[in-house]
Amino acid sequence: MAALDMTKLTIKSAHDLLAKKEIGAVELTEAFLDRITAVDSDVCAYLTVCAELALKQAGEAQKAIDAGSGGMLCGIPVSIKDNICIEGVRTTCASKMLENFIPPYTATAAGRVMDAGAVVLGKVNMDEFAMGGSTETSYYKKTKNPHDLSRVPGGSSGGSAASVAANLALGSLGSDTGGSIRQPAAFCGVVGLKPTYGLVSRYGLVAFASSLDQIGPVAKTVEDSAILLDVIGGKDQYDGTSIEVPETSYAASVNAGVKGLKIGIPRQYLASGLDEAVKSAVLNAVREYEALGAVAEEFDMPSLKHAVPAYYLISSAEASSNLSRYDGIKYGFRADGCESYGELVSKTRAQGFGREVKRRILLGTYALASGYYDAYYKKALQIRTLIRREFERAFEKYDVLISPTTPTTAYKIGENIQNPLTMYLADIYTVAVNIAGLPAISVPCGADENKLPIGLSVIGRPFGEADILKTAAALERALCG
């Protein structure tokens, strides 16, 4: 194999090299495993490296390539967030609660990428049970931002974004409940796509907030994201909320261009609290779009200012219910020395969950408790309706909406972890998309004075993935050539 510049490799270019037999699938996998050994002690993206499984899958992929039956993902090394189950591979959700959990089945999305011939290098770090925005709530380790190892990679899919940004995988599957794919993608300078609710099966994704959770791709380029989405999307008999959509090729949509595209920019997303460098990069992107023939204008979405509290009430309420399954009996951590059932359950949960998970369970239980339900949970669900309606009205006028992905660039490890409220408020640009079930993609749009990446979000209509992909790809081409 010729010397491989892994920093320049993408899913698409690796596929081309594999197809032309310029590299072999096993050699490619070995190169990534070697790099993980060399680099991941600094980045700390992986919780579990599956070298044996990866080499076996690479061998199978090579056979498919040799037989001429390999698709775009065949032989491509990827990482998988550690809340997406793979049968026989430890899946911890970055929690002490699931330290020794070996799933007896495989998540549909992970199964689809493996069926397509992708090679799973391992499971990557995340905030515990996907609750957090910095990957610092992981029970196991703190993942570092590859652009500055003193900074967070974002979260909760911080391991996914860091593994791709540090060239420790060519793509990754993450999950997004309130921005958990898009925000780390923005912090790490990669592309993260949260699909429309129902496009990708949640079967085998450890549940956080079931009405908001979606699995999606993290990759270096928009085209690579589309290649992954082509494989993981579509109806699944094991997820009643997955939706049948017409067969389409997202990868084919990325070159469509934006001439005549109508872009809306919610004025509330450019208001105070937004870092100047981020605002400047976003406005520069708007000018790029206008130069490419799109029409952009600001407009009002007043209900967006209520999105953060509504999101935290809804997601925490659902989490408090979903996480009630962790009782120490059927699987997961079990507290020692308990004499009654009640003591076993409450001590198991107190010792097995970290602080942030407990905050969310307490908040969710409070919001659902008798006497508080109407004031918090029901009200949040009514605000959800207002937000959904405002998006519907916006999409009567605009093809896509754009916004910053995050109010700041990546911050220092430890800077915000003691202040949960600061962390929650930083989700301002991402949570409304989950509340409304819309697709959104974060694409790099510049850097700040410290050379830290800035992400731009493109939001689409339900099942408008082709629109957001072509919009993001146009900016990628304009900025990167």
Binding site: N100, I102, P104, Y197, G198, S211, Q237, G240, T241, H306, P309, Y312, L313, S324, G328, I329, K330, Y331, G332, F333, R334, C338, E339, S340, Y341, G342, E343, L344, V345, S346, K347, R349, A350, F353, R355, K358, R359, I361, L362, L363, T365, Y366, A367, A369, A375, Y376, K379, A380, L381, Q382, I383, R384, T385, R388, R389, P420, L421, Y424, I435, G437
Partner: protein, 94 residues
């Protein structure tokens, strides 16, 4: 804070046996968080219906056909304590 949010009551409902020092720290955190949540109380939502689920899909029953199920050994494989093909729980009744 404990007057505003009955932390012990909520912890009991949540099945979380919190230690005293953790209870104190969580009470402080929760006071700030609930203050943010309280901002929605005064919002006029009119007669907006609730949206529990965005896609509006309804429960779908699978075909009433016998299919395979997971082997008991596999189901039990992640339990910390198991005995003769069963999960083990502490005694529930005296």
């Amino acid at each position: 804070m404990t007057e505003k949010i009955p932390l012990q009551y909520i912890a009991d409902l949540s099945c979380l046996a919190l230690e005293e020092d953790e209870k104190k720290a969580l009470a402080a955190d929760m006071a700030d968080i609930i203050a943010l949540m309280d901002t929605i109380k005064d919002i006029d939502v009119g007669d907006a219906p609730i949206t529990e689920h965005i896609s509006g899909v309804r429960n779908i029953m699978r075909d009433d056909a016998v299919s395979g199920s997971m082997a008991a050994e596999k189901v039990l494989s992640n339990a910390s304590v198991r005995l003769e093909g069963c999960f083990v729980v502490p005694k529930l009744m005296e």
